[in-house]
């Protein structure tokens, strides 16, 4: 059962990251702004569906801090797609979030 929850949560974090990349693209790309924004909103709705599923399996007070892992994936996505810089400070921050998440998950 714990495997199912992990997979759905990972999917949710992945969709969150994808949505942020779409919003970022919509901000940078003025010709396809509407299409990208609608794609982002659609992604949000799919994510909402998965999120309801998670909330029916684990408590909100545990699920929401776990979603914070998306701060890390978004930072990494920013590095990959938009060549944003990740310094030592950000890698340290990523490590902290990862440790915090695993503490909650391990519980």
């Amino acid at each position: 059962m714990i495997i199912v929850q992990t997979i759905i949560l990972m999917l949710c974090i992945g969709l969150e990251t994808f949505k942020q990349v779409l919003f970022a693209l919509a901000g940078k790309n003025s010709t396809n702004r509407m299409t990208l924004t609608f794609a982002a909103i659609f992604t949000h709705l799919v994510q909402l569906g998965l999120w309801f599923w998670i909330l029916s399996l684990i408590p909100l007070g545990i699920a929401f801090p776990l979603m914070s892992l998306s701060f890390v994936t978004i930072a990494v996505a920013g590095k990959i797609f938009f060549k944003e810089k990740l310094g030592i400070r950000r890698w340290a921050a990523t490590l902290l979030v990862a440790i915090g998440t695993s503490l909650i998950w391990g519980h």
């Binding site: 909330l55 909100l60 007070g61 890390v72 519980h107």
Partner: protein, 147 residues
């Protein structure tokens, strides 16, 4: 040069509203799930027939609009960092409103996560690179929103 004095321009009220909207939305989502019944398809059908879902969708729209307004006034990374307060606030709300008992592991984990998010935070020291406050939110682009 006025923009360098960001505390004057920093949209505290909008950010407080955003954080409150976020916590409220999460509580509404929790209520949606508590009110739902059944498994798989029945579960989603029962969600769609409840008015709570519409409240969630409206609140998501409100959050998006608030976020766009905030990004017009301040740097994305700074706003994102401040909005991370919603993590412990949501845990408090879950504890008080829904009686979820959270062990100290979870609180410690959330504390580490919050510090991590704050560290990810602002791109540069304010003042060293005042230009980050002058960027148009459109050209800045990365309109990440924490919905």
């Amino acid at each position: 040069m006025d923009r360098m004095k960001f505390p004057d321009k920093f949209p505290y009220r909008l950010l407080i509203l955003l954080v409150l909207a976020e916590v409220l939305t999460l509580c509404l989502e929790k209520i949606v799930v508590l009110k739902a019944s059944g498994e798989s398809i029945d579960f989603y059908l029962s969600i769609m027939l409840k008015p709570w879902l519409w409240l969630v969708l409206i609140m998501s729209g409100v959050q998006l609009l608030l976020w766009v307004r905030i990004l017009k006034k301040t740097a994305l990374s700074l706003a994102y960092t401040v909005s991370s307060i919603s993590v412990p606030l949501t845990m408090f709300a879950a504890w008080i409103c829904f009686g979820e008992s959270l062990s100290w592991h979870v609180w410690l984990g959330a504390f580490l996560i919050s510090i991590g998010i704050i560290l990810i935070g602002p791109d540069e020291e304010p003042g060293h690179h005042p230009t980050i406050y002058e960027k148009d939110s459109r050209t800045e682009g990365t309109s990440q929103n924490p919905i």
